[in-house]
Symmetry: C2
Subunit: 217 residues, 2 copies
DNA sequence: TATATTTTTTAGTTTTGTCTAAAAATTTAT
DNA sequence: ATAAATTTTTAGACAAAACTAAAAAATATA
């Protein structure tokens, strides 16, 4: 499988978890920052290799084979992210681009040895789940901080937006995975929240709260 | 720089250390298991990018820029080999193909952090030197075991052939980097050697002795 | 020196992944 | 239901990296 094919599979996989049903050519083109015609070309190739179900004008979905391949790519990406942060001391906002390259390294043995070396982590540095060697994922029930009611408390377990801008903002505010966040009050006008995080009080916008995953406690 | 361009630079670099003068198109084609016409095509591209000095029919040599790029690729390859052996418990005969992929990952920060994580090794698992971040190489004086005289002793510091067949043979015989080898006697007829290695006596062929580097002691 | 052999380059093709422009199908709106 | 707008596909082109076959240059041999 080529890098390009792998990138398409991964894009379809990520879109599937957001959009539920069949994925449109345009959605893929937008996600991959390419042209719809290029996507159509690739979808034919992926269908030929039995990696996607594809019917002209009807959108695509992953076959079992394609789903498994996609999970293995995501597995590699997230394991490498753990390696970069835990072993090489990268910060969580620096690892994505490097992991984008590393995820294409082909060696099942390598992935599994890396997994063992890292002590079989179940989540990457952003709180996203890491599929195991069989492709199984441990789902942690989590919700957006913005969905909590006043006086409720949650533990930060993930981020929705993984851009370095957002991650650096969180670093600056002292918010990280594991932080305990209580909603003190919600401003009706702009839905901004007054929160206390590990004791400190601060105000965050709805946009921030809509990109932080928490586990209610 | 593309993977292909990097592979050509690396091939020219390795050939240079063996052949001294200008490298021929055919030598590169043989090394890379490709056709001379493909090599010619690529040499033009590399010359356009100022990575090689190339004159039609005259062979090529690396420019300073090309030499530095080649060293950085070799650096990455050998650092990843150290990682695979020391951290992931691969054996020295398994790492080459994986390192061939990893050497193309582009991130200066990654290489340098990996270097630090591995504690700045100067040699890879086969005893080959690792260029530092500036491209400098610590040359260790070494010679082939086959060049030693009877009664002389050496410490095994490297291998010339890095094929898994040869490396597995060495594992089987208990020969590894650091082994102390004394030449007991040389058979004139086939140049085979009776040696003692860490106490054990054994006989090895000239072909084996011609692929083991030692430092005389 | 002239001829034969080897090496290297050129010319033209293929494959992969991309693009633009135009056509076709589908969806939305009147 | 028909027209308008949007989405998707097709057709044709291009660049990168490889190939084959043939031409050109260099080297070796008689």
């Amino acid at each position: 499988m080529t890098h390009s094919e792998e990138n398409y599979l991964k894009a379809i996989y990520h879109l599937t978890s957001v959009l539920e049903n069949e994925i449109s050519t345009n959605a893929i083109a937008e996600k991959m920052e390419t042209k719809a015609s290029s996507v159509t070309d690739m979808l034919k190739k992926l269908a030929d290799k039995d990696l996607v179900h594809y019917k002209k004008y009807q959108g695509v979905s992953l076959t079992n084979k394609g789903l498994h391949s996609a999970k293995m790519i995501v597995r590699k990406h997230r394991l490498w992210e753990v390696f970069l942060v835990e072993k090489l001391a990268f910060s969580w906002d620096e690892v994505h681009d490097i992991a984008e390259q590393l995820e294409h390294i082909k060696s099942e043995q390598l992935v599994n040895k890396l997994d063992a070396f890292l002590n079989f982590p179940t989540e990457d540095p952003h709180g996203d789940p890491i599929p195991n060697a069989e492709g199984n994922i441990i789902k942690v029930e989590k919700q957006l901080l913005s969905e909590l009611q006043e006086k409720q408390t949650g533990i930060c377990v993930g981020v929705k937006d993984t851009s370095s801008e957002f991650l650096q903002y969180l670093d600056k505010q002292g918010i990280s995975l594991g932080s305990k966040i209580e909603i003190k009050s919600r401003e009706i006008f702009d839905l901004s929240l007054k929160i206390s995080i590990n004791g400190n009080e601060m105000t965050i916008s709805n946009k921030i709260a809509s990109n932080l995953f928490v586990r209610k406690v």
